[in-house]
C-alpha cells in the first residue's frame, strides 16, 4: 500500500525548484479544493437523506416486500457512473426522453448539482448497506427500554437509535467521500472541475506526470483529513451488554404515512434504477440488437475471472486488519487501518501507474498478468471491505470470545467458533461491495490487464468514448445484470440464515 505513495513522491520530486513552486502554489489548486469539498458535502447530504429512511423502512417498518426493497436499494451500485450521468443527461437533450416523447428540451444537469445528483444516485447503497446491517444487528431492547421510560418514538430514534448508527454512518460516509473525491467519469460528463478531473487531465492531455503527482498528493492530503476526522468521531461502546439473545424487533406500523413511504420508495428506485435501465434499453433498441453475443459472453467471463478472486482476496485481507483494530487497538493497528483507506483514495490512474512502476522494477514476470491485476484490485478496494465488518465486530463485542477462551479454547479456536459465524454475513456484504466495484472499475483495468483481456467495463468505455452508445449498451446492461444477480443471490442467502 506504500508503493503508490513512494511512486508519487518520487515522481513529484522529478521537477526542478522553479516548476515546483509554480505547480504547487497555483491559485487554481485552491479552486479545485473548494469544488472538491463542496461536491463531497452535497453528496453526503443527499445520500444520507436517501439511505437513512430507506434502511429504516426495510428493517423496522411493516412495509410489504421489504426483502425486495432491500435488493432494489443495493442494485444502483451496479450502475457504472458514466451510465448514471448519461441517464440524467439523457433526460434532457436532443435524444432525451423529454424531447423525443414530449417535445420539450429540459436544461441539462451539469456542474455541482448535476455531479452531486448523479454521484448520489449510485453511491447511496454504500451507506444503505452499512445502515441496514447496523439496524439489523441492533438490539431492540434498547429502544424498548427508552419507550418504557416515557420517550416518544422520535425522541427514542434520535437519542438511542441514531447514536448507535454512528459507526455505520461514519463508515458509509467515509467510503462515499473517498469515492467522490476519486471519481472521474461523472465529473467529466457533468463538466465540474475537481482534483480528480485535473489529475486525469494532466496525465491524459498533458502527459505530465509531475504536476499530476502533486495533485494526487494534495488529493490524498484531503483524504487523510477525512480519515482522521472519521477516526476521531468513531469512539464509544456499541456492543450489547445484556444477557441472552436479542429478539427481532417488532415492526412499526406505518399507518397514515404509508403513501408517503411508497412515494419515497418509488422516487428512489425510479431515479436510481429505472432511469439508467431505461436509458440502456433505449440505446439497445437503437442498436437493433446487432450485438455480437459471443463477444459479450467472453467479456463477461473475463470480468468474472478477475472480479471473484479480487473480492475474495480483499475480504480475506480485510478481516485481520479490522479484527486487530477493533479488538487490539494499538498505534500499529490504526496506522495499518488508515493506510488501507489512503490506498483507496489514491487516484486510480496514479495507483495503476505505480503498480506498473513497481512490477517492472521488482517483479517483471508479474507485469500484465492476471495475478497482478487481482492484487491491485484487492489493494485498492480493501477499504470497501472493511466498513461492514467493522460495524459488525463492534456490535458483537468481545464477550463471546472471552467466554470461549475461559472454556479453554485457544485464541484462534475462540475466534473461529464464536466470532466468525457472526461476522460471516458482513463478510459477504464486504465481498459484494468489492466485487461490484471491480466489475465497474476502469483505469486500473486499462493499464494492468493482460493485453487483450477486454473486460465488460473496458468494452463499454471504448464504445462510449467514440460516441457509439448503442454498441456499448449490451455490455453496460451486462454489467448491471451481472452485478444484480450477485446482489440478489447474496441477499437471498443472507435471508435464509
Amino acid at each position: 500500500m506504500l508503493v503508490p505513495m513512494i511512486y508519487l513522491v518520487a515522481r513529484a520530486f522529478d521537477a526542478d525548484a522553479a516548476t515546483l513552486v509554480d505547480v504547487v502554489f497555483r491559485r487554481r489548486n485552491l479552486a479545485l479544493l473548494g469544488n472538491t469539498l463542496a461536491l463531497t458535502a452535497c453528496v453526503l447530504a443527499v445520500t444520507t437523506a436517501v439511505a437513512l429512511p430507506l434502511a429504516w423502512l426495510v428493517t423496522r417498518s411493516d412495509l410489504r416486500f421489504r426483502g425486495l426493497h432491500s435488493v432494489l436499494g443495493v442494485l444502483p451500485l451496479a450502475v457504472p457512473g458514466y451510465v448514471m450521468a448519461y441517464a440524467l443527461i439523457g433526460l434532457s437533450g436532443y435524444y432525451g426522453f423529454a424531447s423525443q416523447l414530449l417535445g420539450i428540451r429540459l436544461p441539462r444537469p451539469e456542474g455541482l448539482w448535476g455531479a452531486a445528483l448523479a454521484l448520489s444516485l449510485y453511491t447511496f447503497p454504500y451507506l444503505f448497506l452499512n445502515l441496514r446491517a447496523a439496524l439489523l444487528g441492533l438490539d431492540p431492547g434498547l429502544e424498548e427500554s427508552a419507550r418504557c421510560l416515557g420517550r416518544s418514538p422520535w425522541n427514542t430514534f434520535r437519542t438511542v437509535t441514531l447514536p448507535h448508527l454512528v459507526p455505520a454512518l461514519l463508515a458509509g460516509w467515509l467510503v462515499i467521500a473517498l469515492y467522490v473525491v476519486g471519481d472521474f467519469g461523472v465529473i467529466a460528463l457533468m463538466r465540474y472541475e475537481v482534483f480528480s478531473y485535473a489529475i486525469f487531465t494532466q496525465y491524459s492531455a498533458a502527459f505530465d506526470r509531475v504536476y499530476a503527482a502533486w495533485l494526487s498528493l494534495m488529493l490524498m492530503a484531503v483524504t487523510l483529513s477525512f480519515i482522521l476526522i472519521e477516526a476521531r468521531l468513531r469512539r464509544g461502546r456499541y456492543a450489547r451488554t445484556g444477557k441472552g439473545a436479542a429478539r427481532p424487533p417488532a415492526p412499526v406500523p406505518l399507518g397514515r404515512l404509508r403513501p408517503l413511504a411508497f412515494a419515497f420508495l418509488t422516487l428512489v428506485h425510479g431515479a436510481s434504477l429505472g432511469l439508467p435501465l431505461a436509458v440502456l434499453l433505449y440505446w439497445m433498441a437503437r442498436s437493433g440488437a446487432s450485438a455480437d453475443l459471443l463477444e459479450v459472453a467472453r467479456a463477461f467471463w473475463r470480468t468474472a475471472l478477475v472480479a471473484v478472486p479480487a473480492a475474495t482476496l480483499a475480504t480475506g485481507l480485510a478481516l485481520p486488519v479490522v479484527y486487530l483494530t477493533v479488538r487490539f487497538p494499538s498505534r500499529l493497528a490504526s496506522a495499518v487501518d488508515r493506510l488501507v483507506y489512503l490506498g483507496y483514495a489514491v487516484p486510480p490512474l496514479a495507483f495503476a501507474l505505480s503498480m506498473v512502476f513497481f512490477a517492472l522494477r521488482a517483479a517483471p514476470f508479474l507485469y500484465q498478468t492476471l495475478a497482478l491485476l487481482i492484487f491491485a484490485y484487492a489493494m485498492t478496494f480493501l477499504a470497501l471491505a472493511m466498513g461492514p465488518m467493522r460495524s459488525r465486530l463492534l456490535q458483537i463485542g468481545p464477550r463471546l470470545e472471552e467466554v470461549s477462551r475461559s472454556l479453554g479454547y485457544g485464541p484462534w479456536h475462540a475466534f473461529r467458533l464464536a466470532t466468525l459465524p457472526l461476522v460471516r454475513r458482513s463478510m459477504l456484504a464486504a465481498g459484494l461491495l468489492v466485487f461490484i466495484s471491480v466489475v465497474k472499475e476502469l483505469p486500473i483495468t486499462f493499464l494492468l490487464a493482460p493485453t487483450g483481456h477486454t473486460t465488460l467495463s473496458m468494452a463499454v468505455f471504448s464504445r462510449t468514448s467514440e460516441g457509439m452508445m448503442a454498441e456499448a449498451a449490451p455490455y453496460a446492461l451486462m454489467i448491471v445484470v451481472f452485478s444484480s444477480l450477485f446482489v440478489g443471490l447474496i441477499l437471498r442467502y443472507e435471508g435464509r440464515r
Binding site: 436532443y94 460528463l189 492476471l370 487483450g452 464504445r463 460516441g467
Partner: protein, 331 residues
C-alpha cells in the same frame, strides 16, 4: 472458500504461461484508436499474415503515459495513436522506420524523421446547429469566434489532443502572442469546455451551444444513424488555421524484440486495402493516393486548397502549447 481462492490464483498464474508457450508469431499493439474502427483491420491482418495480434485498447494519452512509464521494458511492439501530439510525445521511444515505409505516403502527411508512419488524415472543422445558425452567421475565420456575436455559443475541448495540435499550429503560423490573444478572447467570450469531439456535437444537438471545433470524421457517425440530426459541418475560409490538416499514425517501439513483424504490420496499415477501409468506414482521408474517395468527404484537392500551409512536423512543440494553456488557465 480457501480451496476456491487457491484455484483462482492457480488459474490466474497459469494463463500468461500458456500464452508464452504458444510459439506462433505474435505482435503486441497498443491502440489508442477504438476497437470498433480498427478491430476489423487487425483481424484481416491476422488472417492474411498468420500473425497473432494482441491488442491493448485504451485512451491514446493513457497508453502514451504507460509507454513512457514502461520505458525499455515495454512489452509493446507497435503504438497506434489517435493524434500527432501523442506521437510526438513518445517519438523518443520509437525505433527509426526504414525510409521506404513512408515512400508512398502523400507529402503533407509525412514525418520527415521517419519516427512514425501516418495512418490517416483528418481536418479540423466547424460544426454548427442547423436549428439556430443561419448561413450568414457562419464565421469566415476561427479568429472571428471571439466576437460578441458568438458569446457563450461556442464549444471547445482544451484537453483534447487534436485541439492542442491545432493550438500548436496556431503558434507556428501566427506566433505565440496571437495564439494567447485568441485563447484569452475565447475565454472572455464564454467558450464552453467539453471533454472531446463527440460531446461537443451532442451538446449542439442538445441545444447547449451552437458551434463546436472538432475533427471532420465524428459528425458522419451521427448522421449515418439519423439523417435528421440537427448538426452540420463546414470549414472556415481558405487557408484559415482553423482548417488544420492533421494525422493519426503508428510507430514501432524501440524496446520491441519483434521489429520485423511490427514493420509488416505498419506496411499493412499503409496498404491500399487497409487505407480504403479507413476512409470508407472511418470517414477519414487516406494517406496514399489512388483510392476510391468517400462520397461524404470533401474531395482531397478541395481540402488541400482550404488547409493552411503548416508542416506536420512543425507542430511537434506540445510542451509549449501545454505551457500556454496552463498560463491562460485552461489546464
Amino acid at each position: 472458500m480457501k480451496r476456491f481462492l487457491a484455484g483462482c490464483i492457480a488459474l490466474a498464474m497459469s494463463l500468461p504461461v500458456t500464452a508464452v508457450m504458444a510459439q506462433a508469431q505474435e505482435l503486441t499493439v497498443y491502440s489508442g484508436r477504438g476497437e470498433a474502427l480498427v478491430g476489423p483491420i487487425i483481424a484481416q491482418f491476422e488472417r492474411e499474415s498468420g500473425v497473432k495480434v494482441n491488442v491493448r485498447y485504451g485512451g491514446t494519452s493513457e497508453l502514451a503515459t504507460l509507454l513512457t512509464e514502461e520505458g525499455a521494458q515495454s512489452p509493446a511492439d507497435v503504438f497506434w495513436a489517435q493524434d500527432g501530439g501523442a506521437l510526438g510525445a513518445v517519438a523518443p521511444l520509437f525505433a527509426d522506420l526504414p525510409a521506404e515505409v513512408n515512400e508512398g505516403v502523400s507529402a503533407e502527411f509525412r514525418n520527415v524523421n521517419n519516427k512514425w508512419a501516418p495512418t490517416s488524415g483528418r481536418s479540423r472543422t466547424l460544426v454548427y446547429s442547423t436549428e439556430r445558425v443561419q448561413e450568414a452567421d457562419l464565421p469566415a475565420s476561427i479568429a472571428d469566434l471571439t466576437n460578441e456575436k458568438y458569446k457563450g455559443r461556442v464549444a471547445w475541448a482544451p484537453t483534447n489532443g487534436s485541439f492542442q495540435a491545432f493550438v500548436t499550429a496556431f503558434r507556428v503560423a501566427h506566433g505565440d502572442d496571437a495564439a494567447r490573444q485568441w485563447l484569452e478572447g475565447m475565454i472572455a467570450n464564454d467558450a464552453k469546455a467539453y471533454r472531446n469531439n463527440g460531446s461537443q456535437i451532442e451538446a449542439i444537438a442538445n441545444g447547449e451551444v451552437d458551434f463546436g471545433l472538432v475533427n471532420n470524421y465524428y459528425l458522419g457517425r451521427y448522421l449515418a444513424r439519423d439523417d435528421k440530426f440537427p448538426v452540420a459541418q463546414t470549414h472556415f475560409g481558405a487557408g484559415d488555421i482553423g482548417n488544420l490538416l492533421n494525422v493519426a499514425g503508428a510507430g514501432i517501439v524501440a524496446a520491441s524484440d519483434n521489429q520485423e513483424v511490427a514493420r509488416q504490420f505498419i506496411d499493412y496499415l499503409l496498404s491500399p486495402k487497409a487505407q480504403q477501409y479507413i476512409t470508407t468506414q472511418g470517414n477519414e482521408y487516406p494517406v496514399i493516393p489512388g483510392l476510391i474517395a468517400n462520397p461524404t468527404l470533401e474531395p482531397f484537392e478541395e481540402l488541400q486548397a482550404l488547409s493552411p500551409k503548416v508542416d506536420i512536423d512543425a507542430i511537434s512543440d506540445l510542451e509549449g502549447t501545454l505551457e500556454l494553456l496552463r498560463q491562460v488557465g485552461l489546464l
